[in-house]
């Protein structure tokens, strides 16, 4: 009792003396991020950099243990009105947030707080993915990547090649030769992730995944990928698998595609540029390796690849002060030095043209540690994005990915033939889309 009374008294006294000091206490706002592990540390570090750069605001940052959990936790928190001001949401969660009614569009925040953000400075491939169909930005691009083909130069040298493959045909011929010559245990290692084979492949071949411009034009879109060249691509993969040239590499088999590449057992893998740094630091010392753009089938006009990663969303229902803090934070991370800091700390790409040009001029891409990452920029900007290559906007895309994944598993483990599996994936995916459409009846995509 006495202790409490004392503390009340001292609090009062403190309050009388130091009103001015209190007024200077930083305004706090919550920021939740999804990345974990080393990348999660980078997120926390970015927060600290902001807090150290000024004294008016304090970002209270909390990792949520994964992209999916960050989304789920934010939804649960929003329902209980305990949500953060800013949250990092991965590409596949974009539609949920666009339709949620729970967010404050980025453009609104920019206008209210006179933010310095220059939307035109973002690479089009990046900004288009997070823009509405009318081209308005609703979230702030953040950690971004795209897919590349990683190849083992030592293996390729043994078949007399110094360059990575440019076409699918060339790539398959190369790895068949490598395997036939016994230069590697596996020519190509893959897992069942859909991002590389389905989403990126379709974009660079200018193929739709779904009708209605990949869903941008309405929630009534239907999946079509079982009828495109993607189906042939998967049949070719199956052939490589049956020939023993390709092999399945998942954490369940004991080695992920990255581990299989870095220990020299697989000559090629498809992976995100975000892993460029990981490969550089974990590959068997002395190995020569490189990256090229994802191969296209011969006779195809190459298009830009898609951006992956996450963007930052500002949530609705916060105070003016918290929004001011959010605006300051988002301005901070969009400034050129911070955009440049990210690729240094991770494998992510610089998302603004200014930062990319500065980095090129400063010789970032000449540094052997980072050389090759500029190829990701070439891939992302190969053509201006069109209605199909700007992105994918399908409801509950996480579940659709999971369906495709499990059907690919069935196809590649020999339970179904490839075409049947893809037909089934499309049929089940369409059911998911129809449920989503019904759930959001009367709503339209902004």
């Amino acid at each position: 009792m006495t202790a409490r009374r004392l503390s009340v008294l001292s609090a009062l006294a403190f309050g009388l003396i130091s009103t001015s000091a209190l007024a200077q206490a930083p305004i706090k706002f919550d920021y939740w991020y999804g990345l974990t592990g080393q990348l999660g540390d980078v997120m926390a570090e970015h927060c600290k950099r902001f807090n150290a750069s000024q004294s008016k605001f304090e970002a209270v940052c909390a990792g949520q243990g994964g992209y999916d959990k960050a989304e789920q936790n934010t939804i649960a928190a929003f329902r209980a009105k305990q949500h953060p001001t800013i949250v990092q949401i991965y590409d596949a969660g974009t539609v949920n947030f666009l339709l949620s009614g729970a967010i404050k569009p980025a453009t609104e925040l920019v206008k209210e707080f006179n933010m310095k953000v220059d939307w035109k400075d973002y690479f089009e491939g990046v900004s288009n993915y997070y823009a509405t169909s009318k081209g308005e930005m609703w979230s702030f691009p953040y950690n971004s990547s795209t897919a590349l083909l990683y190849f083992n130069k030592d293996h390729f040298a043994k078949i007399g090649k110094t360059e990575g493959p440019k076409t699918v045909e060339e790539w398959f011929a190369d790895i068949r030769k490598i395997k036939a010559g016994g230069h590697a245990a596996c020519g190509f290692g893959f897992d069942f992730d859909t991002w590389m084979p389905l989403e990126q492949f379709s974009a660079i071949h200018n193929l739709p995944i779904a009708s209605r411009n990949n869903g941008y034009d309405g929630l009534d879109a239907e999946l079509v990928f079982n009828k495109t060249k993607f189906a042939d691509y998967m049949k070719d993969w199956k052939k490589l698998l049956d020939e023993g040239v390709a092999s399945i590499q998942t954490s369940q088999t004991g080695k992920t595609i990255l581990q299989a590449f870095t220990d020299g057992s697989c000559s090629t893998v498809l992976s995100s540029v975000a892993n460029h740094g990981v490969v550089a630091s974990t590959i068997k010392p002395g190995t020569n390796w490189g990256v090229v753009m994802l191969p296209v089938y011969e006779g195809t006009q190459r298009h830009n690849s898609l951006v992956g990663g996450a963007s930052l969303w500002v949530m609705a229902g916060k105070s003016k002060d918290e929004y001011a803090g959010a605006a300051a934070f988002l301005d901070f991370i969009a400034s050129a030095p911070e955009v440049k800091w990210m690729p240094n700390a991770t494998g992510y790409i610089p998302i603004t043209k200014t930062a990319f040009n500065q980095m090129t001029a400063e010789g970032f891409y000449k540094d052997p540690k980072y050389a090759g990452r500029e190829i990701a920029m070439q891939s992302l900007t190969f053509t201006p994005p069109n209605e199909i290559t700007r992105g994918i906007r399908l409801g509950n895309f996480t579940s659709i990915r999971a369906e495709v994944r499990s059907e690919l598993e069935a196809a590649f483990t020999g339970k179904k033939d490839v075409q049947t599996a893809l037909n089934d994936a499309v049929a089940r995916g369409n059911q998911i889309l129809r449920r989503f459409e019904q759930t959001f009846k009367g709503k339209t995509l902004p």
Binding site: D68, Q72, Q252, T253, K255, S406, T413, Q438, F440
Partner: protein, 294 residues
């Protein structure tokens, strides 16, 4: 159930149970009720206006062949893993109960696996049983393709059953041993003096006296293998390959938590709950009847 001899003071009796009831009402029935209401609506992830759709979610669930697959694999998993872990734990408990020198070490060490968090168990098993990297991969050098949980559904199922059984052995062991050790020693000694061998004593005295505890671990194991297997599945197989280990609770989690379809998940939760309740009622009716309590 219940005693012949009881206390008459109803007021005290009810007062004693009120704290537990308040807790389960607040943290179980209220939220569960809310979730179950979603089963008859279409609930948007962020809330804000759901539509009543009657039985539509259940129709969707029951017209999905993958749902029946998940019920099937859940049953196989539950029966398999429960049998493995209870029988192994019972064997160990009976032998530890003989109290030969060194039994304290065993009694302590057998519990270790349960102290590991499920994700850690999953990681360890994935590591050890991986066809390309693990220690079991040696089998494949002699019989190529004999063991591959990454592509063979049966292997994958066996793997998660083993991992779960391994983890639950410690749990079952501790309760079975507690049950065995709280038995009157005098009774067993008398039986031994009468010339009953060890096996006889197990059959005629220890197992019957252990029946309530065995019944407890049976119910808990079956229930937990339905509702609490999530951590291991997620890490070891992630439901694959091709849904071969897509247990019901894992499917609910992926449809609801990952897929944000709360309504579909809620409908599946109702079915899961009814199934487990039915299973439990069967156990209480048909098995508990054979259990002698005093």
């Amino acid at each position: 159930m219940g005693k012949r001899v009881t206390f008459g003071n109803t007021f005290i009796g009810i007062a004693l149970i009120v704290p537990q009831l308040l807790l389960v009402f607040t943290f179980f029935y209220w939220p569960t009720g809310e979730a179950l209401y979603w089963a008859f609506t279409l609930e948007p992830p962020f809330g804000g206006g759901n539509q009543w759709v009657g039985w539509q979610n259940f129709e969707t669930v029951f017209s999905d062949p993958k749902y029946y697959n998940s019920v099937k694999v859940s049953l196989i998993f539950a029966v398999g893993t429960t049998t493995m872990s209870i029988s192994f734990a019972l064997l160990l408990a009976l032998f530890v109960d003989r109290q030969l020198p060194g039994y304290r070490v065993y009694r302590f060490a057998y519990f270790w696996p349960y102290a590991l968090a499920a994700p850690a168990v999953g990681l360890a098993f994935r590591f050890i049983f991986a066809p390309q990297a693990g220690f079991v991969s040696a089998i494949n050098t002699y019989f190529p393709g004999a063991w591959n949980p990454a592509t063979n559904g049966n292997d994958a199922m066996l793997l998660i059953m083993l991992a779960n059984a391994w983890k639950m052995v410690g749990y079952n062991f501790i309760f079975l041993l507690a049950g065995l050790q709280s038995m009157p020693r005098a009774l067993l000694e008398a039986a031994a003096l009468d010339g009953a061998g060890a096996l006889r004593r197990i059959r005629d005295f220890q197992l019957p006296l252990l029946a309530p505890t065995l019944f407890f671990v049976l119910v808990i194991n079956l229930t937990e293998s339905f509702v609490d297997s999530f951590g291991i599945v997620e890490i070891v197989t992630n439901g694959g390959p091709a849904n071969a280990t897509d247990l019901m609770v894992f499917k609910i989690y992926t449809d609801g938590f990952v897929g944000k379809d709360y309504s579909l998940a809620a409908a599946q939760s109702i079915i899961l709950m009814l199934l487990v309740v039915a299973l439990t009622v069967v156990q209480f009716r048909f098995i508990e009847r054979r259990v002698q309590y005093t």
